[in-house]
């Protein structure tokens, strides 16, 4: 249906009836090309091609914004300056925008009461809202404690054998904090001072894609003719199921890893996380996890590219890591 032609005297009303659209423009095409070049550049050559794309996008974006706002910039809004001089007669502003009250505008009683009511309400509301909102958000971020997990004496781990270890990280939380790791004793390795120290590979089973539990690809438990080891430590019962992994696989979306946790196939964005550890009075103690981009080599000689702990699905290296500049507080 055709809209009615606005007659001169209904011009003001017709403003609300019609969609007000900016004039057609071609600049968005150039802007879109710039974005495409940026994205392609991220794959091919982030430094050079992405920069060119960014320049194209910024230039065309600026032209587009200038074009779109031309109308606004032409119609300059005339604002009468506020006048405070006593006795100065307020000139009638164009378009009848003159203040209703007289030239002198002391704060009247009603204006003061209005402001006081709103201000007092805002103060009371803020006093209530701020601590409550803090209680909603902050406990999940502050005082994140590190939980050390005692896995028992290191002598029980035969050299070079893998175990699936399950343990409770925080006895106060109970079963909900039960975690799984793949543990291998690598023997000893020389530290920076040339002293021989124990070496363990302790890989978290949290998939680096979206956090599902990865499984060892290979025989485990009774099939191997080996017994499941059980230990009772400060963290409660800890269980070690012997396993011979050819790698690890995730049941959720098919991510695959090699035995050192390097991604070999599927959607994961990095290698499997690892647990830090210390040997305390001859006992293996797990510390916090850290993230790993990839591992070169194996066993005690493995070179691990370490990063601080990131969530699953978050890149730790490459341009995609720029998406995660600020990590929440961690233990």
């Amino acid at each position: 249906m055709e809209p009615e032609q606005p007659s001169p005297d209904t011009e003001h009303e017709s403003l609300h009836e019609e969609a007000h659209l900016p004039s057609p423009t071609l600049w968005p095409i150039g802007f879109a090309i710039g974005i495409v070049v940026v994205l392609v550049g991220l794959i091919i050559d982030p430094l050079l091609i992405s920069t060119i794309g960014a320049v194209i996008a910024i230039v065309f974006g600026f032209l587009w914004a200038r074009d779109a706002t031309r109308e606004l910039r032409v119609q300059q809004v005339v604002v009468e300056p506020e006048r405070r001089e006593a006795g100065a007669a307020a000139p009638p502003a164009e378009g009848g925008a003159a203040p209703v009250s007289g030239p002198q505008q002391p704060v009247t009683r009603s204006v003061f009461l209005e402001g006081a009511t709103i201000g007092l309400g805002a103060v009371i509301g803020g006093l209530i809202t701020v601590p409550v909102a803090g209680f909603l958000v902050l406990p999940g971020f502050l005082r994140q404690e590190q939980h050390k997990v005692d896995l028992g004496p290191i002598e029980k781990f035969p050299l070079g054998s893998w175990f699936v270890a399950t343990f409770v990280v925080d006895p106060a939380q109970g079963e909900v904090s039960r975690r799984t790791a793949f543990v291998r004793n690598n023997g000893t390795v020389a530290d920076s001072n040339g002293k021989q120290v124990p070496s363990f590979t302790i890989i978290s089973n949290r998939c680096a894609h979206l956090g599902c539990p990865v499984q060892a690809n290979g025989p485990s438990g009774a099939i191997l003719g080996k017994k499941t080891l059980k230990e009772h430590t400060l963290n409660g019962p800890v269980q070690f199921v012997p396993v011979v992994p050819a790698g690890y696989g995730c049941p959720c979306h098919g991510g695959q890893y090699d035995v050192e946790g390097n991604r070999t196939a599927g959607p994961p964005v990095r290698a499997l996380d690892r647990y830090g550890f210390e040997v305390n009075n001859g006992r293996l103690v797990l510390l916090s996890t850290y993230s790993v981009s990839h591992v070169v080599g194996t066993g005690a000689q493995a070179k691990i590219y370490k990063y601080k702990s990131y969530g699953p699905g978050q890149h730790v290296d490459g341009p995609e890591a720029w998406f995660y500049p600020l990590s929440p507080p961690h233990h």
Partner: protein, 287 residues
């Protein structure tokens, strides 16, 4: 009232008394609140003459939401949102309470089933309603804001689905939520913060389940109810759209809307003064 020509029969008198018995309380309420008139205004408003059955999908989605609200409130009386382990059985408390609802409590299986399947029905009906609005062009001026509010209702409904999925606290619930939270965690910049907020910590723990429960049954339903109220207010204010094939010209002369019945009296005759003019009674007026 006109003077009756004949004495009314006993049946007529009885009928009249019954009517008064029903009408008097309604009139009492209406005189003091205007609520009856408001409900009449809401329910008996004019709609285009050629409205379509497809235009009942919004009401259907509303009904599905009400079913979710009612069954949810009752399920909350039996469900225990605790991720801790029952020392007697070694099983999680929340999961045990779900088993209790489904397997032991009378009709629990039915109400839980209504809530579980009704959740999908609610989402499907919202999508069908959205499709109807899109195909009818009912999102156009002046109803754009109602489309936006509708999208917010859909989003809140999906958040209800996400938070409700964890509550059974079984393997499916747990790992689906792990994946769902980690998906949020991959969002740029604020993703890791959002994930940690949802978990209330670095890992899913004892606080996560009660947090999802509170979101699921207090915060999000409150938001949906507020949004539905706004949505319906705009439907009433802007009216119902004609179907695209309607012969009534869109934007044509608006039909004269009859003012809904107002005070005084929904059904009572208007009291008249001595000179026959209708009296204008002011509600609560004492002068």
């Amino acid at each position: 009232m006109a003077t009756p020509r004949r004495q009314p029969t006993k049946a007529q008198i009885r009928h009249q008394k019954m009517e008064e018995l029903v009408i008097y309380p309604i009139d009492w309420l209406e005189e003091r609140s205007g609520l009856v008139g408001g409900i009449r205004y809401f329910l008996f408003r004019n709609v285009p003459s050629d409205v379509n059955w497809m235009q009942t999908l919004g009401s259907a989605a509303l009904t599905a939401f009400l079913v979710q609200a009612i069954t949810g409130v009752i399920l909350a009386m039996y469900y225990v949102p605790s991720a801790s382990t029952d020392p007697a059985t070694g099983k999680p408390v929340a999961w045990e309470s779900i088993v209790n609802i489904s397997d032991h409590l009378t009709l629990g299986w039915l109400v839980r089933g209504m809530h579980k399947w009704g959740a999908s029905v609610f989402i499907i009906l919202m999508f069908l309603h959205m499709g109807r609005v899109f195909l009818f062009g009912a999102y156009k001026y002046p109803r754009e804001l109602n489309w936006i509010i509708g999208v917010l209702i859909l989003l809140t409904g999906m958040l209800e689905g996400f938070t409700g999925y964890l509550l059974p606290w079984d393997q499916t619930a747990y790992w689906a939520t792990v994946v769902g939270i980690n998906l949020n965690g991959t969002a740029p910049i604020l993703g890791p913060w959002l994930a940690q907020f949802l978990r209330s910590g670095q890992e899913i723990g004892l606080e996560t389940l009660p947090r999802f429960y509170s979101l699921h049954m207090l915060i999000l339903p409150g938001a949906i109810i507020a949004l539905i109220t706004l949505h319906l207010y705009l439907v009433v204010r802007l009216g119902v759209t004609s179907p695209p094939w309607s012969k009534d010209a869109a934007g044509g002369e608006p039909v004269e809307v009859e003012e809904p019945a107002r005070r005084p009296g929904l059904t009572r005759p208007v009291p008249r003064t001595a000179n026959g003019a209708a009296m204008q009674a002011e509600p609560g007026g004492r002068d």
